[in-house]
Symmetry: D2
Subunit: 358 residues, 4 copies
């Protein structure tokens, strides 16, 4: 259950970390979209393992194949199936957890829920599954491009190293200029050094990804249980390792007074705008035309290269030490995942909103 | 669209602030549940307006009627319809916003999305709708009671006044002993004074509600897009005025190292436990048997008794000053709403998880 | 579960035959629709009990109240809640089946499935629930009227008395001119006499309702599992007492050869048409612009005024004789129900199809 | 949209007749099921093209690969992805319909709905897609086998050649003993001769498939819109070329009186049974423990080897003559498809019904 996401532009993903393949079916993509394969690959490349010294060294090219739903390069309105074959599994790296539970991983909960688990690389609970989302998100972006809607994410914190500036004080075109994906290049260097230091300790560190969505028309989002920010929140909280989500003023907004927090309306060149944007572009769950922005908090990766106390399937004490190839910090690779999920939400609500057209 | 919530235990709400009635249909409640009407009313009473000096003075008794799905006091497995008739509408209080948009309300977005809006009391966008959720949540709690699962929320911050202690250092039985619903009675007094002061200024203030769910069995939650915390997040973000959600270590967890953050497993009297609980009772999106806890951030109420610049439907400048009866701070009344939504999520996943039984 | 129908224009019904009320929430009705209450009532009147000598004599006016989703007479895009209070329950008529199972009713299956049942009038399994569908269907028809789409049903058979003519050889404006709702007035008299004769025997009889939908644009229906005729079929098979559904050439088409059955395309005044219409207006699950027509078979009502062998809840033998007020034949009152369900399907697919607009 | 089927045991199919592959994701299969690949293949073999002289001569082995959701031969509870690569496409056979519409095919409706179509072999509208359903249905059958539930279909009519006997007067073990899949071997010969004669004429013929489901426990099916027979009907009407569905007494039941049609309850060895079974094993939409049986009517295949008048995309007159390899009658190959869809419905409702367990 629940391997699907979206109402109209609906994706269903499959696959395990060390299985034959991972992939996605997109059901509900409008017809006539140019399925630009180079673009889809470039998005997958931003997420793929082994892309830099601060990511896992697993080597997966993450090349993909579109198996259906395309004719002469364009979407036909039928399901688009995308498959990515796994190539560089080293399942032996996981023999030691065949019957032991890694702390703060999903080993124990999967075993208890299903009575069986594919322990190799975490099986279905591995973040490798997110490659399928990035592929689907790339197609969502292709639809949004035609509508002049953009989704841009970037790393705003690694541990205690925080980017204080708001997105509109940054040059987001620089996000991809460094391996940590922070648009402040000086701070990026500090972040990279921190991740590297943590990695050398055999440890890991958390971080924060910010995202801004621009060009969204007024009216996307559904009351009461389909509020735009609630869906964005669910999308982000569904990404591996995410512990928190806030949009607009977020938790800081809880300390403000209404007279400070309210976004005053005015008109400029016939267009309705707000003087401030604590609402984060969403009012009453519906987009108001201003920029939508939000923050996503990621915990430190659970796999560390240190010995930790744990138990095995029988309940006996054991020690677990991380092996294999792992990320010391997920946020650099999380940037395209956050964008992909954001794009999927926006496309879906855009299509859903068409029912109100007359 | 999207006025429904849940997969198996599914609710659909209806109604506007100043319409004839609000209500809910619960489809999927198991049969044989004692529908304790006194308990349902007591939950509605915790949310109802006019309950204390720090809430809106609108007088609604929020008495309800069960119209279906019950036979000789027990649920029959068919839809349970609950209706609450509106009594104390003062729609004249809203004449001034017939064509003007209140800042940071949903007036503008509803008008743009639907081309029509019930301006009286905010119509469907009013938090009055949450009474329907509390009624449904009360029935969810009745199911959970039989399973020894509890959902307890409380106010942990009003503006800058913050409760620093964790839930397990508090006596949650004291939450209902004061009108702000903070289990630390001394701090509660400070919070009440703050809300009162803000109210006298004609202003409003934000705050935070914490919630803890205890007794949840291992195994609730669905990978990949139905993670238990993602659904809790969507449920909370769907409550009016919510700006942020975090569970377990939350945003603080982003600053931690893996070696600090990992929850080590051990066995006690044959039961699997973790030494710490930064995971917040959920690993890989699935409950692990530990306490589930999370925080929900609420912005300050948008309606203030001060004049604010805005525009009208034609786009012309105008001033809007709040009239009518409003809450200076939503968190005291949000406590039962947070509990209700939490209970709805847990019941739903409990029922969904039965498909794995052999 | 499963008291909802539709994807975009989605209804959820509630209520039992002898409970306080029955009703429906419509979620997803476009905004700006004039909710013509006189029309809605006229549709309910076509279905209501006691309307003629050949229907049950239970007296229900089936007056309704719209509780939400309307402002100044128009739909607002928020959920429309409609309630119909039960008035003329005579629950004593059902005391004899408190613990006995009526043959070919749902008494036994409900008791086994839920462990409890509201035996009064059949509870939720009563066709009284269809009043809620007719109310919702009336609003669907109001939307379709603006699109020049009509749904017209009529009785084409009562027992062995069959109307041989196809719909396009009939004057459908005469359907409402007689109490059995057959547009062939001479045959209508024979049908009425047959129902009356059966009623006097304390027996019941089955029949067939035909329906034609005209004005549907090309393109409604979704491959693969949302074929237009599959949804129509599910809608019709969900009506109480229905045993069969066929569209276009139906079961007769199974005896034909391809060369006879194929509908040849031609163009007339720039419009694509087919010479015959064995396809019933649907090809590959998608409307082709021709008339959509189908047939729905209803079994004889299970409640008869004769003694029948049966068992009670303990499994002991008992006799059951019908009491109370019942229809000797459902088809006259089924006509507006068939139309309502057809209208709900068409509106839903019309809205769904908008996602393909560019 | 709508390429998914089922609520809990949910399948999503993809693929076109002449694309790279077709396949299915099964989301919601319980864990621990032995995924017997030989059995899955044997089911695919029953449906595959080229299996006998009375089917299409397209040569597809329909070998499949399970890409996920399996570990050491057992289902893990995560999505099971199955892919079948297309091998024997002869797309040139379809060049003549690149811009022409074949009568009674989906060419015209797809073109109008989507503005683009994969004309090769009918693209997504081809019955080749049903191989994916048969693969998923095979896994559903593996689950049902453990519950002693069987789904058996057979050909009961080819054109005017009809099998008059009811299923319980037949030896269904003989269904697979002949290429037309009719358990009456003498009649089977007549049917085969008829199909062969029609094929030689370049024509096609319709037929009927009957199905019986045995061993279903009491209680499957959901009121009001999820009635078991309504879901079976939707499942069958979603199969290519189906024009009608009836269950139990079906359309014949419309001619009966209540006193004839009612199924009287009695108890045998503590088990509740009915003397007759006109209800077809379903009462009030819920299974009553008796055999479930239904009939599915298929139209003649639209592709014939004769010249037919039609139009092209511009609306100009043209002639279309079938080329390529086609079935003269679909019912022999429809038998496993009907069984697969029946199995999918029953498994889904079986899992859904678990929510009522205490």
């Amino acid at each position: 259950m629940s391997n699907s996401f979206g109402r109209i532009f609906k994706i269903t993903t499959f696959g395990e970390s060390h299985g034959k393949a991972i992939g996605v079916i997109i059901d509900g993509c409008p017809s006539g979209v140019n399925l630009d394969e180079a673009f889809i690959q470039s998005e997958l490349d931003r997420r793929k393992p082994g892309q830099s010294k601060i990511t896992t060294q697993r080597k997966e090219l993450d090349t993909f194949e579109i198996q259906s739903g395309v004719f002469e390069g364009k979407s036909t309105g039928t399901p688009i199936s995308i498959v990515i074959h796994n190539k560089d599994q080293k399942s032996k790296d996981y023999d030691h957890i065949k019957s032991a539970y890694r702390p703060s991983h999903a080993d124990y909960t999967y075993q208890e829920k299903y009575g069986i688990r594919d322990y190799r690389g975490g099986g279905r609970s591995s973040a490798r599954e997110t490659a399928a989302r990035v592929a689907a998100g790339a197609i969502a972006k292709l639809v949004l491009n035609k509508l002049n809607i953009s989704c841009q994410a970037y790393v705003s914190a690694v541990g205690n190293i925080e980017l204080k500036a708001n997105y509109n004080a940054l040059d987001l075109s620089k996000t991809e200029s460094n391996i940590v994906r922070c648009p402040d290049e000086a701070l990026a260097e500090t972040m990279i050094a921190e991740i590297d230091a943590v990695r050398k300790q055999g440890d890991t560190i958390g971080g924060i990804v910010d995202c801004v969505i621009q060009g969204v028309p007024v009216g996307l989002g559904e009351p009461v249980f389909g509020k735009l920010h609630a869906e964005l929140g669910a999308a982000m909280l569904g990404i591996n390792a995410v512990k928190g989500f806030e949009y607009g003023s977020g938790f800081d907004g809880t300390k403000m007074k209404g007279s400070e927090h309210n976004d005053l309306f005015f008109t400029e060149a016939g267009e309705v705008k707000t003087k401030t944007n604590y609402s984060g572009g969403i009012q009453g769950g519906i987009s108001n035309g201003e920029d939508i922005y939000f923050r996503v908090g990621f915990k430190p990766v659970a796999t560390i290269m240190k010995s930790q106390e744990s138990i095995d399937q029988k309940g006996d004490s054991t020690d677990v030490t991380g092996r294999g190839r792992h990320d010391p910090c997920v946020v650099p690779r999380a940037v395209p995942i956050v964008e992909a999920m954001a794009a999927l939400v926006i496309v879906d609500f855009y299509l859903l909103n068409k029912m109100y057209l007359t």
